[in-house]
């Protein structure tokens, strides 16, 4: 489902502040698996996640997602591919604070031909599944951290993607909420979705749903645990 071959990502290339975030990494995640990118801050796990999520392109190497080499795709095709195949849950949730809960969830559907009322129906159904239907008209800034994360999950799922990527999803949650998040992810795994999570939280990488762990350090892949 996901394959990275000798991937390197350099930021600010050729400048004094050049950073090699990922260095010659090769990994593979099969369809329906839950993979964890594990490592301390600055290990390159978020950058590798961005490459898998098609929000960034590698400086060198090749990235294959759902059978397509996304590292070679022009921007507009990459955008379309990302919209159709990848749902992203960001570390800071990256919700738009002035928008309501339901409006945040429909954001990925706006540049699609789906009529606004259909998008809204779909978003409300997801929010109901996540126990957020009563908060749908709240501004997201009025929500707790756990509620905000459920909105971010609903938004990641609104396009019905086959792949979910999550960056440090439990970093801002207490244990109960983190377990709630893992329960939701587990259900998504049961639906057959492929999930990649970047984290250094033992609660996540010790969870029974996890199939493979990629240990990262200083931008390099140091160990694969299956």
């Amino acid at each position: 489902m996901i394959r990275c071959e000798h991937v390197t990502k350099v930021f600010n290339r050729g400048k004094p502040n050049e950073v090699v975030a990922v260095r010659d990494v090769s990994i593979e995640v099969n369809e329906g698996e839950v993979a964890v990118l594990r490592g301390p801050s600055g290990s390159g796990k978020t950058t590798l996640l961005s490459l898998i999520a098609c929000v960034a392109k590698p400086t060198s190497g090749r990235v294959f997602v759902a059978g397509k080499e996304v590292s070679k795709l022009p921007e507009r095709f990459l955008t379309l591919f990302r919209r159709e195949h990848v749902g992203i849950i960001f570390q800071q949730f990256n919700l738009i604070p002035e928008l309501s809960v339901v409006d945040n969830v429909v954001v990925p559907l706006i540049p699609t031909p789906l009529p606004a009322n259909e998008s809204r129906k779909r978003a409300l159904a997801l929010l109901k599944n996540l126990g957020m239907e009563r908060r749908s008209d709240f501004k997201v800034r009025e929500l707790s951290g756990g509620e905000q994360q459920r909105v971010a999950i609903a938004r990641a799922l609104v396009n019905n993607p086959r792949i979910i990527v999550a960056d440090e999803p439990t970093a801002h949650l207490d244990t109960a909420l983190a377990e709630e998040f893992l329960r939701i992810m587990h259900n998504l795994k049961r639906e057959g979705r492929t999930i990649v999570i970047a984290t250094h939280d033992p609660l996540v990488f010790q969870h029974e749903m996890v199939d493979v762990i990629f240990d990262m350090r200083d931008g390099r892949l140091v160990e694969v645990v299956r």
Partner: protein, 388 residues
């Protein structure tokens, strides 16, 4: 291309604008002010030019003035027979006129003496021309001095003595620029009022049957009467254009400074995309918005801002110029405004003017909104979100 998709993006743009009410209201305010000033100048100059052309349409084909010591002097009436002897001249008439300063109103009027009303083809809204002391007055003058038909009008003649006139009629406001400051009286009375000796006039109005012959006839008059200055209507029109063009040019040049400041402001506003805006663009891109979708959203936003400001500015300018009499511009564009009775400008707005204002205000604004957004939306969404 899906209509729904564009409607969705438009809805999001409007939502985006409403979320930043304060900032966008400030932009609309500045934008509207610039369009208002620009449109006011253009509308006023157009209207003045239109009125000037209307005035000229009433002017004689050729005006003959006597030049003494390089200045305009009185013309002997015997010149008329010399002019009439030239083939092609249909009519030559003496004109008696002068200026009168009214200290009470702090205004200067133009007094014209006519042999008959037919020689001054201006519409009269009330009254008629009868009696030796009868005068016709401009509508603005009548309003300023609260004169009605039948009222007395006292004016000091060239000796400084008061002369009593009776208002016999008021000119129609449809010829405001021509007649606003006008007092028309019988020619002999005007000659006596200004102290012009009989057998003389201020100038001679010449009418030509065939307009194609006009330049030749003007040359012949100048040859036969070498001590005169011969002015064709076309030459007077060029002088008018130069005066109005110069005034509006000076004002527009100073307005360019304001436009430049406006351009810098909008550039700063737009290019200085806040961290929040950049982050939002990054989020949208990460969530599957293409560069084109982001640009479409920002363009809609710019169009909504710019069109509202443009329409508001143009409407306010129209009201300012044609309903309020352009109080902000008159002192600049009409040098004689303090000496001239107030008058209403005839509304003249052309499509070309509206397009001109559109292109020098709306287009740069849209560019200033879209270009920085394009720059922000072409980088990797990951980098936009991290602020790298």
């Amino acid at each position: 291309m899906s209509f729904e998709k564009h409607r969705n993006i438009l809805d999001y743009s409007v939502n985006f604008l409403l979320r930043r009410k304060g900032k966008n209201l400030a932009t609309i305010l500045v934008f509207t002010l610039v369009v208002f000033m620009l449109a006011s100048v253009v509308m006023m100059m157009n209207s003045l030019n239109h009125e000037a052309r209307e005035t000229l349409s009433l002017a004689p084909d050729i005006t003959v003035q006597k030049i003494i010591a390089g200045r305009q002097g009185l013309v002997p009436l015997e010149y008329i027979s010399t002019i009439q002897s030239i083939r092609g001249v249909s009519r030559a008439e003496p004109r008696v006129w002068g200026y009168y300063y009214d200290a009470d109103e702090d205004a200067t009027y133009t007094i014209i003496g006519v042999q008959s009303l037919e020689s001054l083809p201006l519409a009269i809204s009330e009254g008629g021309f009868s009696g030796e002391s009868a005068v016709l007055v401009g509508e603005a003058l009548a309003r300023a001095k609260r004169l009605n038909v039948g009222d007395k009008l006292l004016l000091r003649d060239h000796r400084g003595e008061y002369v009593k006139f009776v208002v016999a009629g008021v000119f129609s406001s449809s010829s405001a620029l021509q007649s606003a400051d006008l007092i028309v009286m019988p020619q002999d009375k005007a000659r006596d009022f200004f102290g012009i000796p009989s057998g003389y006039s201020n100038d001679i109005a010449v009418y030509v049957a065939n307009p194609a012959e006009l330049p030749n006839i003007a040359i012949k008059i100048a040859q036969k009467l070498p001590d005169t200055r011969v002015l064709t209507r076309e030459q007077i029109r060029e002088t008018y254009d130069a005066i109005f063009g110069w005034r509006s040019g000076v004002f527009l040049a100073s307005l360019l400074g304001a436009l430049l400041a406006f351009a810098i402001l909008v550039w700063d506003r737009a290019s200085g995309l806040t961290a929040e805006e950049k982050r939002e663009i990054g989020i949208l891109k990460a969530l599957g918005w293409s560069t084109g979708d982001v640009l479409e959203m920002r363009t809609f936003e710019g169009v909504v801002l710019a069109l509202n400001s443009y329409l508001l500015g143009v409407i306010l300018a129209y009201l300012h110029v044609f309903y309020l009499g352009a109080p902000l511009l008159k002192p600049v564009l009409l040098g004689w405004s303090t000496l001239y009775p107030s008058f209403e400008l005839m509304p003249v707005v052309t499509l070309e003017d509206l397009l001109l204002i559109f292109f020098i205000s709306v287009v740069p604004f849209l560019a200033a909104v879209v270009v920085p957004s394009w720059r922000a939306s072409t980088i990797d969404p990951d980098e936009a979100m991290r602020g790298i």
